[in-house]
Amino acid sequence: MSGPIIICHKLGCRYGNKYLLQDINLAIYPGEHWLIFGLNGSGKTTLVTILAGYGYFSEGELQVFGSPYTEENILAKRQRIGLVSGSFFDRYYRDEAVQDIILSGLTGTLSCDMTITDRQRQKAIALLDALGIGDKRLMPYSRLSKGQQQNVLIARALIAKPDILIMDEPTTGLDVFNRELLLSTISDLAQNTTMTILYITHYTEEILPEFDKTLLLKNGRIYRQDSTDKLFDSRSFSHFLNYPATVGADPRKRHVSLSVPSTIRELLNPSVR
């Protein structure tokens, strides 16, 4: 077996006195399918944007495809990584044309340049059609719905046939049809390609059986990393949440139930006014 495709050694990201990530040690091997699971604010997006070569880290070491990111290799490496992250790209894309955004996935930059071939343009059109937004090709990104924007980022990630596919909460804003289409695409890619996949979510119902490894992130640190089966049992998962949870036995649909009582109604009681 070849060496890891991603290695993090004591990776950390600090802004001022605040650590967004700390002490991340991780080795991901080619063809592995990882679930990165954490609640909001756990550092998931920060971690994956750093791994994909779009983010800043203040300490530790990172190697992707066998070496650190450098001036010479970063654009070439980014072309081999498909990153889908609305929370990252929405900071930069506003009125850019959908087609330009998708084609930028081929150059590792945010704008699309003149190296794009006609064949690549045709591929962008085919991807948009397959994702049901072929008619939006020439539209500004900001005029699309959240779900359509998410599909644009998915097309941007897939156009270069990446070796590593990183999806950061990719179902945000998708309707039920598009969500199932996306999950079935990921399942198909996991089963029938050698792509390394990192899937980030905070929804337990999106945990596909293909995600055999899991990284649990909590407050910017790795809480645990292990096989998904080991981490998604009731005892381990309750520990992680620090709250009693029951995880269903079916690994094809990991149903997690929590009993979280609400006291909001009591506040609405007239006698409390």
Binding site: G55, Y56, Y69, T70, I74, A97, L138
Partner: protein, 136 residues
């Protein structure tokens, strides 16, 4: 794959020479990522639209703007017609002319080839400057 320095040199040149394909505004380089790898964090932006741009040759922008206004070209029939559709249409025509010029080998990322530059500078062909367009 381009050399990183070649990429930086190219986008610096475009920032100086080219215009925004939507509004014709001037371009600027911005460093947008919090990292220390220069190649990865430098992108071209339009100063007026505040958008990520790659830029279009000024001559191509001029004739595209003329084409859209002069012939009322509109490939956005579903959007209410106005300033925004004019910009979107101008950008589309810029893309078509850029694609054609590149396809026949008279344009690359560093601008028009020397022979064409010479023709443009000597104004021996019809050059649609802003003044010409305004006269129409």
């Amino acid at each position: 794959m381009k050399e990183p320095m070649q990429h930086l040199h190219e986008i610096e040149g475009r920032t100086e020479r080219c215009l925004c394909k939507y509004c014709g505004g001037p371009l600027e380089l911005r460093r947008i990522f919090f990292g220390d790898v220069e190649t990865a964090r430098t992108e071209i932006f339009c100063q007026k639209c505040d958008r990520i741009e790659y830029g279009v040759e000024p001559e191509i922008y001029s004739i595209s703007q003329y084409f859209v206004k002069g012939f009322q070209f509109n490939c956005y029939p579903d959007i209410d017609h106005g300033e925004q559709t004019d910009r979107l249409n101008t950008a589309r025509v810029c893309e078509i002319i850029t694609w054609y010029s590149q396809s026949i080998g008279i344009l690359d990322a560093n601008g028009f080839v020397d022979d064409i530059k010479k023709i443009l500078s000597e104004k021996t062909s019809l050059l649609l400057t802003n003044e010409v367009i305004e006269e129409c």
